[in-house]
């Protein structure tokens, strides 16, 4: 089954909160992973790994550098489900 944009944002927020200790409502579409959420490259790869599991998608390594904001990640995962 495909997840909606809202479900993906909520799921990502849970993953980011688990990894960083940030509250889930800090994870919003326009937030930058590095500049706003202070997520380093190792944490980013951990988040990607968990997101792949959660949404049953594949996020290639070369794609990760294009995911600057949470919204970028949601958009990519929506597309990858199709």
């Amino acid at each position: 089954m495909a997840y909606t944009d809202t479900e993906i944002l909520e799921g990502l927020a849970e993953i980011v909160a688990e990894e960083t200790g940030l509250p889930t409502d800090a994870v919003q579409l326009e937030k930058s992973f590095t500049d706003d959420l202070d997520i380093d490259s190792l944490s980013m790869m951990t988040i990607v790994t968990h997101a792949e599991d959660k949404f049953s998608v594949r996020i290639p390594d070369e794609e990760v550098k294009n995911l600057a904001t949470v919204g970028d990640a949601v958009t990519f995962i929506v597309g990858a489900q199709a």
């Binding site: 688990e18 200790g21 190792l42 790869m45 790994t49 599991d53």
Partner: protein
């Protein structure tokens, strides 16, 4: 060349089978409590492991550390960080975030050892690889499993820039770390060093492996009575886990900031047996050399030694070799020594043991109380040194010298000398 500098202890911290901090651990040791308990799992049935108990940590890290820290650290590093935070605050230092300027970061070191390292992380990662493939491997795996991980996390925690080290010498690792910290300060490389040891091996693989070496007690029906060094009915050691950390400081630095001083770490002696990978040299030559060198550095003689915290894991060959070594070194003066074997209560923390026993020795000197040795119903007639049994024993007034012994597989011997400040 300038003279070596005096080293004092200004902070202590621990998380152990007896308590979640140093104070509760020391109180439980004076009360003669045992930290051994039956495992809350079915490893015995699942894997056929013949040992169903150990000295598991009393306060789980999940109760005191935020979830993201738990996820980024192997349990061995989690224990080290818990003990470090206590010791650092106990020494009167604030957090880096508070802008604490009591110590120059370039004069601050970290030396934190583990005997075995991040074995939970290693084995979890191997399971992940076999069951789910390389793409499911978490990217934090390497920084969590590397044996210097606890040292690195401590270095990050306190902002230490004089060097972060992780000496590995099996069950002597925690004491060797403290010994290295002493040397860093004596030689002038640092003013303050956070040093200690940690271990987290309550995993079925290392327990099965130790059991295979026939070194673990099999007293499954009586966990609290199982660790019985010097008792004729001892049958091996009780595996334990936890961490202990001390804040070492040059005496001048501690005095300049008005720090409370527990005791002086006056000597460190190191040696290696060059005899056998697991058995101590039966003549105890390496053990004697380590103790002799530590006493020489401290400027102490056999007659000065009032208390020894023995390595004493509760194996027959190990325990008796050590007391024979003490008797050979001290001669008739050994009759006046109070010997404590605190592993009877804590179990054997492996890489954490030497650090925890240093904390005990520091507290013994500060409070002038040698902790008890429990479970000694029938002392081995070959025991050559007076043993503190059942209740703490007072140490004499005036200047006292205490020795903490730690020995490890590989023939590593470490002796530390603690004196009153």
């Amino acid at each position: 060349m300038t003279a070596p500098r005096d080293v004092v202890v200004t902070g202590i911290g621990a998380t152990t089978p007896l308590g979640g901090d140093a104070a509760s651990t020391w109180a439980a040791a004076l009360a003669g409590e045992s930290g051994a308990r039956t495992f809350e799992n079915d490893w015995a049935e699942q894997y056929g492991i013949p040992v169903t108990f150990g000295a598991t940590i009393k306060v789980k890290p999940e109760e005191v550390l935020p979830r993201p820290e738990i996820k980024r650290m192997d349990p061995s590093a989690q224990y080290a960080i818990i003990a470090t935070r206590e010791a650092w605050a106990d020494a009167g230092f604030g957090t880096a975030a508070e802008g604490d300027q009591q110590v120059d970061p370039e004069r601050l070191g970290a030396v934190v050892s583990s005997g075995i390292g991040g074995i939970w992380t290693t084995l979890d990662a191997w399971d992940t690889l076999r069951e789910r493939g390389a793409r499911r491997m978490l990217p934090m795996t390497v920084p969590m499993l590397m044996p210097n991980s606890p040292s690195a996390y401590v270095e990050l925690e306190i902002g230490a820039q004089a060097g972060a080290h992780a000496l590995v010498s099996a069950c002597a690792s925690g004491a060797e770390a403290i010994g290295y910290g002493i040397e860093m300060i004596r030689s002038g490389r640092a003013d303050v060093v956070v040093a200690g040891g940690t271990e987290a091996t309550m995993h079925p693989m290392p327990i099965a492996a130790f059991a295979a070496s026939r070194t673990l007690s099999l007293r499954n029906d009586d966990p609290q009575g199982a660790s019985r060094p010097y008792d004729v009915d001892r049958d091996g050691f009780v595996i334990g886990e936890g961490a202990a950390i001390v804040v070492l400081e040059s005496a001048e630095h501690a005095a300049a900031r008005g720090a409370r001083v527990y005791a002086k770490l006056a000597g460190v002696g190191l040696s290696s047996d060059a005899y056998h990978i697991t058995s101590p040299d039966p003549e105890g030559k390496g053990q004697i050399a380590a103790m002799r060198r530590a006493l020489e550095m401290a400027g102490a003689t056999a007659a000065d030694v009032a208390h020894i915290n023995a390595h004493a894991t509760s194996t027959k060959v190990g325990d008796l070799t050590e007391t024979n070594s003490i008797r050979t070194l001290l001669g008739g003066e050994a009759d006046h020594v109070l010997l404590s074997a605190t592993k009877s209560m804590t179990g054997h923390l492996l890489g954490g043991a030497g650090a925890l026993e240093t904390v005990f020795t520091v507290k013994a000197v500060q409070e002038r109380l040698a902790p008890p040795t429990i479970n000694v119903a029938n002392p081995d007639p070959e025991l050559k040194v007076p043993l503190v049994r059942d209740a703490p024993a007072p140490l004499p007034a005036g200047d006292v010298v205490a020795v903490n012994n730690s020995f490890g597989f590989g023939g590593h011997n470490v002796a530390l000398v603690v004196t009153n400040a």
